[in-house]
Each structure stands twice: as structure tokens, then as C-alpha cells.
């Protein structure tokens, strides 16, 4: 298996321009500027089958093709480095270890879509990563990979860093645009879609950090090489982040379609303290939990959807047999309640209600009817509001109550936690 994303991570100088150039960096940008028309770049990315790595898995080339070619004013790209989905810590790897890779990808994307101004929206807490990024951009300007008339091609491109300030919802692409404009990060109603009406009402494309980092590799090695990695509909490698009760938590570059079981037991070293696995959340906190007997599944979009969950951000949260699933429900429901931006009544009220019901069960005040109520409230949140945060609040609850109903019932009947050694909240 070929590592291409993380191959140089941690090597001397990989973080600096000198190291990146030594490892073949900016060859793809040169190739694109010299030999490819913008539309050829879009076609190549389309052919590669690359799907967005921010959570929704939308085909990247197709998204780019929605951008109008000729316009009489500016178009924008925003690189989504908000990375706030609980369990997710992969974009940080790119930002900290080889930032030029995603910068090169971003410049190539800008050329492909005829964009001259890009913003990198980075979560405010990533202060260290912001400094690294600023330094990396300064080096790219110095080498004339950014600015006016890049490498004599006549193409101009600026990249600016925009720091967030703590709000999960600003990772949602229209919330992100509101936040760049200097407003509360409240998502916009769609349509109009960002490709027509984005930043300051101009055509805008938003992609994830890792999505951009894939682009130079596709340009260098070709779409068919990329299609040869992973599965038919989920191509390329990705960085899976494994956290929770494993012996070796961390970031692992692997092809999409890799087995979840192998990731947990081989790569991440199995369950800590020789315990048994109880459950896995395979794609960040917003996706449905899989009980231990359902983890024989490949980590790609279709397989996980068929298994009743989702690939999400590839953030795998592992829970051993000490884990109280009611507490998991309390923690997750609290998160979505806290992060709801409040503009849709059902999301604001519904996420609070889910949390209240979970807390009631945890505290021994739950009733058996609460389980149906939890499912009803969650169902009513799905697909009924401005953005997908409402769905993200519903899915974890639906997953937990469906797969661990016995444990919830037991908790309600005895009024207390059934796992004496569980983590506390």
C-alpha cells in the first residue's frame, strides 16, 4: 500500500518550503500552469472520483464544475479548516506537518475555477497551526507561487487566513461564509447555492483541507492512478483518526474501503487493557454508532451507509465494554444543543429536548416512554431545517437508542448506570 499524503510527515523540513520542494512539491502547480487549461484540471479531478473529505463526500470535480466560468466580478474559494466535528483531528495533520501540500492544491483549484482570491477559514483554537500556516503562505509568496503573475503564467492568486472564534456551526459551508463576512455564523437557506451566491453574493466554492491536499497528487500521477486506490465509488487514501479506548490512538493514512476491524485491531493496536469492544462511531460524532457485532465493514461511503451509519469525517471513536451508552448520549446531545445556532425553532428546541431527556435517564428520572419520545423528537429533527446540524443532532440519538435499547431500558428500570466502571461525565 502506497502512502502519499503522510509520506513525508515528520521528516526534517517537511513543514518548510525547502523540504516540500525537495520532496517534489509544486511540480503539479508548474504542470498545470504550463500544460493544462483550467477545464482540463476540473476534468482530471472529476475523472479521479475524488470526493470531499469534509464529511458529506460530495464529488469534488462536479462541485467545481458548478462554478460559472465567465463572470464580471470576483469569485472565491474558501478552504474549510474549521475541523470541529468531535473525534476529528486529521486536518491538523496537514496544517502542522506539511502545510504546502494543501496550499499547492488550493492554488491549483483556484486556477481551475478562475478564482483569484481564497480564504482559509481556520478554527480560532488552532493558534499554533495558524502561525505555521501564515509562515507557509509567506514562503509561497516569496517563491512566487502566490501573488501576481504566478511563475510568469499571467495567473494571479492571493490566499488569506481567516480565524474563527469557537463555533462548530461555522464549519457548515454557509455558516462559514457568514463568519468570513463578519457576522454570526448562522447558515443560509439554500438555494441559492454557493456556486452562484456565496461570499459577498459572489460565486464561491468551499472544500475541506484534505480535499485540497489530494489535488497535487492527482495532477502529478493522474486520475487513473487515483481511481486505482480505494473502492470504485470511494477513491484515494484518507487519514482516519482513531480515538477512544484503543492501545494506539492516532492518525492513520489508509485507502478508503479499508476494513474497520483491521483499523481498530491491527493499526490502532486493539482495545486497551485487554478489554472487549462494545461500540464504534465510525465517522465523527454526527454519525450513527455501530455495535461491536457490526464492525466487519469496509470504511467507504457506500458500505457504511449500507451498514446504517456513515463515513463522515473518517473519525473513528472506539468504546470498550465499560462504556455507558446513556452517558455517550448525554455528552453528544449536550454538544448539539450547545452548537445549534438557534435560528430554526425545531433545531433549537429539539436539540435541547433530546439533551434534557438523556440527562433525565442518566439521573435516574427517566421513564420507559422517554425512549419512544427520544426517537420521535430525533425523527422530527431530520431533514426539517436550514442546515444539517439538526440531522447531526438526531442521528447519534437514533443510533444509540436503536442499538442499545436494552441498556437504556435497564438504566431506566434500575435508575442507575449498568456499567460500574464507565467513564464519568
Amino acid at each position: 500500500m502506497e502512502l502519499y499524503l503522510t509520506k513525508n510527515f515528520g521528516k526534517p523540513n517537511a513543514i518548510a518550503m525547502a523540504g516540500y520542494l525537495k520532496h517534489g512539491g509544486y511540480r503539479a502547480l508548474r504542470k498545470v500552469l504550463k500544460k493544462m487549461e483550467p477545464k482540463d484540471v476540473v476534468e482530471e479531478v472529476k475523472d479521479s472520483g475524488l470526493r470531499g473529505r469534509g464529511g458529506a463526500g460530495f464529488p469534488t470535480g462536479l462541485k467545481w464544475s458548478f462554478m460559472p466560468q465567465e463572470t464580471d466580478g470576483p469569485k472565491y474559494i474558501a478552504c474549510n479548516a474549521d475541523e470541529s466535528e468531535p473525534g476529528t483531528f486529521k486536518d491538523r495533520e496537514f496544517l502542522e506537518k506539511e502545510p504546502q501540500m494543501m496550499i499547492e492544491g488550493l492554488i491549483i483549484s483556484a486556477y481551475a475555477m478562475g478564482v483569484n482570491t481564497c480564504y482559509i477559514y481556520i478554527r480560532g483554537e488552532y493558534a499554533t497551526q495558524t502561525k505555521i500556516l501564515q509562515q507557509a503562505l509567506a514562503e509561497a509568496y516569496e517563491k512566487k507561487f502566490l501573488g501576481r503573475n504566478i511563475l510568469g503564467s499571467g495567473f494571479d492568486c492571493d490566499i488569506y487566513v481567516h480565524r474563527g472564534a469557537g463555533a462548530y456551526i461555522c464549519g457548515e459551508e454557509t455558516g462559514l461564509m457568514e463568519s468570513i463576512e463578519g457576522k454570526k455564523g448562522q447558515p443560509r437557506k439554500k438555494p441559492p447555492f454557493p456556486a452562484n451566491f456565496g461570499l459577498w453574493g459572489r460565486p464561491t466554492t468551499v472544500n475541506n483541507v484534505e480535499t485540497f491536499a489530494q489535488v497535487p497528487h492527482i495532477i502529478n500521477k493522474g486520475a487513473s492512478w487515483f481511481r486505482g486506490i480505494g473502492t470504485e465509488k470511494s477513491t484515494g487514501n484518507t487519514i482516519f483518526g482513531v480515538s477512544g479506548h484503543v492501545n494506539k490512538p492516532g492518525a492513520y493514512e489508509l485507502p478508503l474501503g479499508y476494513g474497520l476491524k483491521d483499523l481498530i485491531y491491527k493499526d490502532a493496536g486493539g482495545i486497551r487493557n485487554g478489554r472487549e469492544l462494545k461500540a464504534v462511531i465510525p465517522g465523527g460524532s454526527s454519525v450513527k454508532v455501530l455495535p461491536a457485532d457490526r464492525i466487519d465493514v469496509p470504511l467507504d461511503h457506500d458500505s457504511l451507509t449500507n451498514a446504517g451509519s456513515s463515513l463522515g469525517t473518517g473519525a473513528v471513536i472506539v468504546m470498550d465494554d465499560t462504556t455507558c451508552m446513556v452517558r455517550v448520549g448525554v455528552v453528544l446531545a449536550h454538544f448539539y444543543r450547545h452548537e445549534s445556532c438557534g435560528q430554526c425553532t425545531n433545531c433549537r428546541e429539539g436539540s435541547a429536548w433530546l439533551h434534557q431527556l438523556m440527562v433525565g435517564i442518566e439521573n435516574g428520572q427517566g421513564k420507559i416512554e422517554d425512549l419512544d419520545l427520544l426517537m420521535d423528537v430525533a425523527d422530527s429533527l431530520e431533514g426539517s431545517s436550514i442546515c444539517a446540524l439538526a440531522d447531526a443532532a438526531a442521528w447519534p440519538v437514533q443510533g444509540l437508542v436503536t442499538h442499545f435499547r436494552d441498556e437504556f431500558e435497564e438504566h431506566i428500570k434500575t435508575g442507575k448506570c449498568t456499567s460500574p466502571d464507565s467513564f464519568r461525565i
Binding site: F89, I317, I425
Partner: protein
């Protein structure tokens, strides 16, 4: 009042955007860096620099959790209590700091050195449990590690 340097920095930030207002988060970050929190006076100053009303600035400030609407201690200990950290005993980290400093979550020590908060996921789930203090992340926390971190902040 913002320093001259901060005002120059805000000017420089404006060049990145077609509209002044886009600078608001950067301006608030600068205020917080200099003053530790965002006071009503500071919001009024930012408003006048960006041609906004003070209430427009307040609306934005209060939307984002990183902006302190009240003064905090010299060191703001922000412990993650989201799932991956919770699974690795993040609650134990919170309780240990509470005992050690004699404060509850949301409180500041009498000498105004430390404020303790809990926060949502900070992107360190693979190195849980963790906390952020100022710009720095402290990961794979244990009681001895917390002791030595707090020692260096004295």
C-alpha cells in the same frame, strides 16, 4: 483602548476583504489578546473602527465561545469534555483541577491567576484527555502532568 500596533494590524487586515466588517473577528481577537476579555468599551471602539453599531459588535462577540464577555484569570484552563476526551477520563481532569485550585468550573482563583472552563472538542481526540491554556494545547494529560504544567505557569 486598543494599542497603536493593534490598530495598524486591523488596517492591514482590512486589505484582505472587500468589506470592513469582515475584520471583526480579527479585531476582537486582538482586543482579547491585549485586554484578556471583551469589554463594552472595547466593543464600542471596534464598532467605531468598522463603522458598525455597538450592538452589531456585541451580537457577533457573544455568538463565538472564544470571546470572554467577562474578565478571566491570567491563565484560562479550558478542558475538553467532549466524547473522545470524556472516554479517557476528561472528567477526572476537571475534578483534579477543581480540587487543586479550589474552584468550580466557570470560576477564577482568588489571586486571579487561573480560570477553569470546560469546552467542546478541540481537535485533539487522539491525544485525549486534553486542555488548552492560552494558545497552547496540553495533551495526554495525567495528574503529574497537570501538576507540572500548572507549576510552570506560576
Amino acid at each position: 483602548m486598543l494599542s497603536e500596533n493593534a490598530k495598524k494590524e486591523i488596517e492591514r487586515e482590512m486589505a484582505k476583504y472587500p468589506e470592513k466588517r469582515a475584520v471583526i473577528l480579527a479585531a476582537l481577537h486582538l482586543v482579547q489578546k491585549e485586554e484578556g476579555w471583551i469589554s463594552q468599551d472595547a466593543m464600542e471602539e471596534v464598532a467605531s473602527l468598522l463603522d458598525l453599531t455597538p450592538i452589531e459588535v456585541r451580537e457577533v462577540t457573544s455568538f463565538y465561545t472564544m470571546f470572554n464577555m467577562r474578565p478571566v484569570g491570567n491563565h484560562h484552563l479550558q478542558v475538553c469534555t467532549n466524547l473522545s476526551c470524556a472516554l479517557m477520563n476528561g472528567r477526572g481532569v476537571v475534578e483534579y483541577i477543581q480540587r487543586k485550585l479550589g474552584i468550580e468550573v466557570g470560576e477564577t482563583t482568588g489571586d486571579e491567576r487561573f480560570t477553569l472552563s470546560t469546552v467542546e472538542c478541540l481537535g485533539s481526540c487522539g491525544t485525549a484527555p486534553m486542555m488548552q491554556i492560552g494558545d497552547d494545547y496540553h495533551e495526554n494529560l495525567s495528574e503529574p502532568k497537570i501538576d507540572s504544567i500548572l507549576e510552570t505557569l506560576k
